[in-house]
Symmetry: C2
Subunit: 336 residues, 2 copies
DNA sequence: TTAAAAAATGTTAACGGTTACAAAAAAATA
DNA sequence: TATTTTTTTGTAACCGTTAACATTTTTTAA
């Protein structure tokens, strides 16, 4: 590994000059610049990131914190964010904390300890509890951008999708189609989980439908549990005529229960991951626009890192997109 | 941010003593140790990773390089590896290079430039070409552990699953059941892609079945392309009685074409991702044991980082697992 | 009680960059 | 040509650790 001193020696210049060439900061005469660049190429030089980091307190690394990359939703988000950051010359430290609040705190601290330049938080930082004191503390050290959850704290910037309205719209569409007994299956009440549930309730209220506790059920984010629950509800003859869920995986589990019994009714997922397409019948799903949120978050972040905090909106919200597939199409309305 | 000097001052000791407490290296008297630890707690001290990195040329970060985390297979692998590394106090820099060789090279270089302690390579480093000169060069700088591809180079350690035998076994099972015209759909001929194809061919040979070019077809790793191809083959009345694929996603696409026409025949996927379970009928799939490969790779890596290279096997191979689901069960054999 | 050995602590030079400031060289002006 | 201005380059301090080596303190042995 050659150092800045090696390059300086090779060209008969000082290390300051080499550093200047490296950073393109202040002026260097064209011919010395060329000489230095040639030496760098020759020696295959690459600046030591630790030394640089020590001086500048930055290694141009962004921490990405999510719950679980093996989940299709987070995987897509991480992928999109990683691409965006790379394109801008930023490296990515990945942390998958799981759902436990204590773990999330620990991971947040781990990233801070590594002196990342910023943190991108995918999904919700808190669960049922609204304790985000740790986030507040973290934001005092580095800017934080959250994707898919809205947090109002200094130095925290949120890019979110209004899934609440999506959920509401789904209820309205179903109701308009005569599906008035809607089974709502949700998993964790993270920020977006709460939004979804609220949207569902608003939809019910809007349509003058009653809120039935036995039709608003919490399940694990798995295939088996929703499937089992739906089977049980069918066994118990609990009446419902459509299923809406907070996640595609849950929807698919539920749909499997239906398919197994030859029952056909509208099933709506959320997140519109690849799973939705894989399901048979393919799943109608609320798309939370990660394809827009993630690039937006990255752009926002670069702005902030460039010191343009003033022009960085602390909240950016996009509308969701309903993607209709076989499990429920608006055409139903017409066909019926 | 308090430094080692702040702590030293606060306790009236030298920075060397603080450093010793920090590293637990040489002896420090119990009472000064306590005093120092107390000051650290009080000042919420955490050592500057860049300074440490500069001295030790290590920030205890491992680079993970994969093709695409948004793909269920890589997502699962990255997730498993991340967990294992975290548990051992190692941080993770993630790189998603895509399939282009030039990009892979670039990403490899990016990780090296960050002075990662090691690189874990998930999936294949090369495609149809067998050019792994860049890997060889990289391995001269840091140890490399590959997951799901076998590479014979100094300082490269491979943890792999023998999918070839899995593929072979599938053909044998199908043939034994009377399914002798097998459509084989594959995507990229990465290392494991080649292994799979070879296993398939071996299976055909073993069973005395002919290799039919029109039944060994390359498709994109998407849902739509295999679906379209199968539809076309059906239209063209190309005869086949079972479908085997190199990836679950492809299998699901193919199966969708069958389901749409009410045709039922064995469909076998590979990788056994969550997609396989989501499909209806649920997909029989070859599990390449990421649940074992990934922890093994991490353990191997820690061994290597601990300087126990001698006792680190350069190749570790696990057998695959056939996971039978609705799209093809061995019970078929009995039932028929 | 003193000398020797062991344990604890301190001093200081790396590690490889960045950058403020100083100095030298080149260009512009008088 | 001498002087001023501008451009280019060099010097050296600093960033916060680690660790070799030196020194002091404590313990043990004589």
């Amino acid at each position: 590994m050659s150092t800045i001193y090696d390059i300086a020696n090779a060209c008969g210049v000082s290390i300051a000059t080499v550093s200047r060439v490296l950073n393109g900061s202040s002026k260097v005469s064209p011919k010395t610049r060329e000489k230095v660049l040639a030496a760098m190429r020759e020696q295959n030089y690459s600046p030591n990131p630790f030394a640089r980091g020590l001086g500048l307190d930055s290694m141009k690394m962004i921490g990405i914190l999510c719950t679980d990359v093996s989940d299709a939703f987070f995987a897509k988000a991480v992928s999109l964010v990683e691409h965006g950051l790379r394109k801008r010359g930023l490296d990515v430290i990945l942390g998958c904390s799981g759902t436990e609040l204590s773990e999330k705190k620990k991971y947040l601290q781990l990233l801070l300890n590594k002196h990342v330049d910023a943190i991108i938080l995918i999904g919700s930082p808190f669960r049922e509890t609204n304790d985000n004191s740790h986030l507040e503390a973290a934001a005092r050290q580095v800017p934080i951008v959250t994707i898919n959850s809205l947090i109002d704290l200094p130095n925290v910037y949120s890019v979110d999708c209004d899934v609440s309205s999506g959920m509401k719209q789904v209820v309205e569409l179903l109701a308009a189609d005569g599906y008035t007994s809607i089974l709502y299956l949700y998993d964790q009440l993270t920020y977006s989980g709460q939004q979804k549930l609220q949207g569902h309730r608003e939809g019910l209220a809007e349509c003058g439908l009653p809120e039935q506790p036995e039709l608003i059920r919490r399940v694990e984010r798995t295939l088996g549990e929703p499937q089992g629950l739906v089977e049980k509800l069918l066994d118990d003859k609990v009446p419902f005529s459509a299923i809406v869920t907070s996640e595609d995986l849950i929807a698919i589990g539920a749909q499997k229960a239906l398919v197994a019994r030859g029952i056909r009714m509208p099933v709506i997922g959320c997140n519109n991951s690849i799973l939705a397409e894989c399901s048979t019948p393919s799943l109608t799903s609320i798309d939370n626009r990660l394809d827009i949120l993630c690039p937006t978050a990255v752009k926002l972040l670069t702005k902030i890192l460039n010191g343009e905090k003033e022009s960085a909106p602390s909240q950016t919200i996009f509308p969701p997109l309903l993607v209709f597939r076989d499990s429920f199409t608006v055409k139903n309305t017409v066909d019926k």
